[in-house]
């Protein structure tokens, strides 16, 4: 098996002098600073020679004290080995420019667009650097830079000024300060074609038209705009716009203490808040070097698996309401079943959805008395119900006519587009963070990675339902094995986390969730980058919709089990 040090020596021998700094944290983590002129070649080398076929994301970091910016490329492999290579490339802060990887990896497109609009790092050779998450008036302000003063800039004492536009509306305008005018640093409004202009440019003939789905559409629980270019019933092209509920959680967390950050991870995606908690706390624990007591590990595993069950139940139920013409809609039944799981979680955490449960080095509460018996009862019930659902789906001919071979992703395509979670596993790729990057008590537990064969809508739903059964199996093992002992580490967690950085991955119900946390030794995080699963999944949606019928659009989008709130974090 390839280890991190093998990867490092391979890069060093292929590109002498390209690795400026390097650190092998463990067998699974490699940190390397690469000469920014060679980053594309190094990535190419990794993909071709060392089977790094999964471009997992990119993070921008603003090092204002060192007067430079950094782009961290996160490279992994789909099961060939378990190394995560964090490749940093630096660029001066004045005119930050880095070569784009979008031509090498298709899914680098959105990650680079996000870094561009947030940090102002220009990506050379990117096919279309248009804003994705921010509103038009914020583009050019580079809000995630450390010297961003806020919007409107309240440090100057000037608020936005109202002024009427030509068409009779009122717009708000922030006048530049005299100092800014003198220094010549007045932000220039960037010129680029708007989203509407871009999609209208694609209309080739009079037979085509654009249909808007969203942002307020029942397709997914959360607003995002999906515009489809249709000719008759066929979709020719799809366009996606995000940012309707962009919360700037990564920036907020930079301004909150380490402990307060946990509450914000809850609110990225409320149905998966426990895994988000786990991801953030795990990253901080990694920086601290704290070992979680065994009982706390088991409690965390139990709750995260319960959370996965409830997420899959609501995801599948919602999907069924979207394709409501099927003849039956077990949405109500799934919600009733989910209620039992939710009350199991509530009896431990004290909250129904936003749990704020995981703590640095442990968990907030111990399991209450009689939890194991109640949980076993609930699990037995869920297991029998899930089997019923699987049978229901299998024997319904209309459902199969509607769902089979719709929105199919082959294994190759799924790997290339960087999708993760159930949509990837439905395509037959056994890629699960619980196996790839085992955390907590997962290495001791016996479970399978559920995979499908065809990667179509029916398969995705089937994978989710079978994952519920697997989660039930995991929780039962945990309940049998859970040891007694403390639930928090004995070492006191300090208010100030020592300087360091960590990348931590967990298996969210929706796929690969990773957090890249940097500490500069202060009482607040220096940077928290969230690599969410649904951001990657949404990116694959437009190409997947090309050539399908309008009726299938909702089915395909719904089968992804999305949470735009998390993509728009």
């Amino acid at each position: 098996m390839t280890t991190a040090s093998d990867v490092l020596s391979s890069i060093q021998s292929a590109f002498p002098g390209a690795v400026l700094e390097s650190k092998v944290e463990s067998d699974r983590r490699l940190w390397a600073t690469i000469d920014s002129s060679k980053i594309v070649d190094v990535c190419k080398h990794l993909t071709e020679k060392l089977a790094f076929d999964h471009y997992s994301g990119a993070a921008g970091v603003d090092w204002i004290a060192r007067n430079e910016m950094e782009v961290v490329q996160i490279m992994t492999s789909h099961g060939a080995h378990q190394v995560v290579a964090m490749l940093k490339s630096k660029t001066p802060r004045e005119k930050p420019t880095i070569k784009s990887l979008a031509n090498l990896y298709w899914n680098a497109n959105w990650y680079e667009r996000e870094i561009w609009e947030m940090f102002g790092i220009n990506f050379e050779g990117h096919p279309g650097l248009y804003p994705l998450l921010l509103g038009d008036d914020l583009v050019g302000a580079w809000p995630w830079r450390k010297d961003f003063k806020g919007y409107p800039d309240l440090t100057t004492g000037k608020r936005a000024v109202e002024r009427p536009t030509a068409d009779g509306y009122t717009e708000y305008f922030i006048p530049p300060t005299p100092a800014e005018i003198e220094a010549g640093t007045v932000p220039i409004k960037l010129k680029y074609p708007s989203y509407r202009e871009r999609e209208e440019a694609e209309i080739k003939s009079d037979a085509e038209m654009i249909m808007h789905m969203g942002p307020q559409h029942a397709m997914l629980p959360g607003p995002f705009l999906l515009d489809i270019l249709v000719e008759g019933e066929r979709v020719h092209k799809a366009f996606l716009d995000l940012g309707y509920i962009h919360k700037g959680i990564e920036k907020i967390m930079e301004n909150r203490s380490w402990l307060q950050g946990i509450t914000y991870t809850d609110r990225m995606c409320y149905v998966a808040s426990l895994t988000n908690n786990e991801c953030y706390c795990g990253a901080v624990e990694k920086i601290l070097g704290v070992e979680v007591p065994e009982r706390a590990q088991y409690i965390r595993v139990i709750l995260e698996e319960l959370s996965r069950i409830q997420s899959h139940l609501i995801g599948t139920g919602e999907f069924l309401t979207l394709i409501a013409g099927v003849g039956y809609a077990p949405w109500n039944f799934m919600i009733i079943d989910r209620e039992r799981i939710i009350s199991m979680i509530e009896s431990v955490t004290g909250a129904r959805l936003t749990h704020t449960f995981v703590r640095f080095g442990g968990a907030r509460n111990d399991l209450p008395e009689g939890f194991a018996d109640k949980c076993r009862d609930a699990l037995k019930y869920i297991e029998s119900r899930t089997k019923e659902y699987i049978e229901l789906f299998n024997q319904d001919p209309i459902y199969h006519m509607r769902m089979e071979d719709v929105g199919a992703l082959s294994a190759e395509t799924a790997k290339r587009v960087g999708i993760s979670g159930p949509p990837l596993r439905a395509a037959g790729v056994a890629y699960d963070m619980r196996k790839e990057d085992p955390i907590l008590a997962y290495p001791d537990l016996d479970f399978k990675v559920i995979t499908g064969t065809k990667g179509d809508c029916a398969d995705r739903v089937d994978v989710r339902l079978r994952e519920i059964l697997e989660s039930v199996h995991i929780i039962e093992q945990c309940l049998d094995r859970i040891p007694s002992g403390p639930i928090m580490t004995e070492t006191k967690v300090p208010k100030k986390i020592p300087a360091g950085e960590a990348y931590y991955r967990v298996e969210d119900p929706r796929g690969e969730m990773g957090m890249y946390v940097i500490s500069d030794g202060g009482d607040k995080p220096y940077r928290v980058k969230v690599r969410g699963p649904f951001y990657a999944t949404l990116q694959t949606l437009p190409p997947l919709l090309e050539g399908v019928y309008i009726a299938d659009v909702v089915a395909i989008a719904g089968s992804m089990d999305g949470c735009p709130s998390e993509a728009d974090r």
């Binding site: 909150r256 203490s257 402990l259 307060q260 946990i262 509450t263 914000y264 809850d266 009350s343 509530e346 009896s347 431990v348 955490t349 004290g350 909250a351 936003t354 704020t356 703590r359 907030r364 509460n365 209450p368």
Partner: protein
């Protein structure tokens, strides 16, 4: 005519107001909540020490420390107790975890509908589940006053002592300096502090500090 009609219209709601309610609770029994439930806060005012760590840790800064009478003046000298703005609270429970005196808890009560906006800002009198009665409070206040008076008397006495020996405060300062400079070469200061400072060091130091606090220009100048 119109007036009469209007009066009739007005009389109708007055008439039905006395009748039986038609709205009823559904489901008829409230769901049973677990012990771990994070509902509305419950404050044990007899234990609270007014450290404001709950207010500091709150991510939404919805806790404000306000004066309240029925607490323990022996533990909480400034008599400051948390007031929670439920318009902002997100029930994360960090305040409960941080509380060093374990006096802030979250209970099973979750309904907080009110008629006015002010009702969601709940002061200590609303969130306190345990507090002292008027009588106990008076006794405690008297006790606190007595202790304060004793302290003041001690302070006065110490100040007098300091005034009697004008060199004492200065000597104390020298002693402190010597104690701080651990690595300093053993000179005249170190033996002096050992010989003379030990028994009276504390009182002299305290006297100097109190003198400073009182902003006595004479002694302040001396130190």
């Amino acid at each position: 005519m119109l007036k009469r009609k209007m009066l009739m219209n007005w009389s109708w709601p007055l008439k039905i107001a006395r009748e039986v309610e038609v709205t009823r609770l559904y489901p008829e029994v409230m769901m049973e909540l677990p012990d771990a439930e994070r509902g509305l806060h419950e404050l044990d005012a007899t234990k609270c020490i007014g450290c404001a760590s709950c207010a500091r840790v709150c991510p939404n800064s919805c806790i404000e420390m306000v004066p309240y009478r029925y607490g323990n003046p022996l533990k909480n000298k400034k008599m400051q107790y948390p007031q929670i703005d439920y318009g902002r609270c997100m029930f994360c429970g960090l305040c409960v975890d941080e509380c060093p005196a374990e006096c802030l808890k979250m209970g099973k009560k979750v309904t907080m509908a009110g008629w006015e906006r002010d009702e969601i800002v709940r002061g200590p009198e609303k969130i306190a589940v345990k507090k002292f009665s008027e009588k106990e409070e008076q006794a405690l206040e008297a006790e606190a006053k007595r202790i304060a008076a004793e302290k003041a008397a001690a302070k006065k006495a110490a100040a007098k002592e300091g005034a009697k020996k004008p060199g004492a405060a200065g000597a104390a300062g020298a002693n402190n300096k010597a104690a701080k400079k651990k690595t300093a070469p053993a000179g005249e200061g170190a033996p002096a502090s050992k010989a003379s400072g030990k028994p009276s060091e504390k009182t002299a130091g305290a006297a100097a500090e109190e003198a400073k606090a009182e902003a006595n220009p004479k002694v302040g100048g001396a130190t």
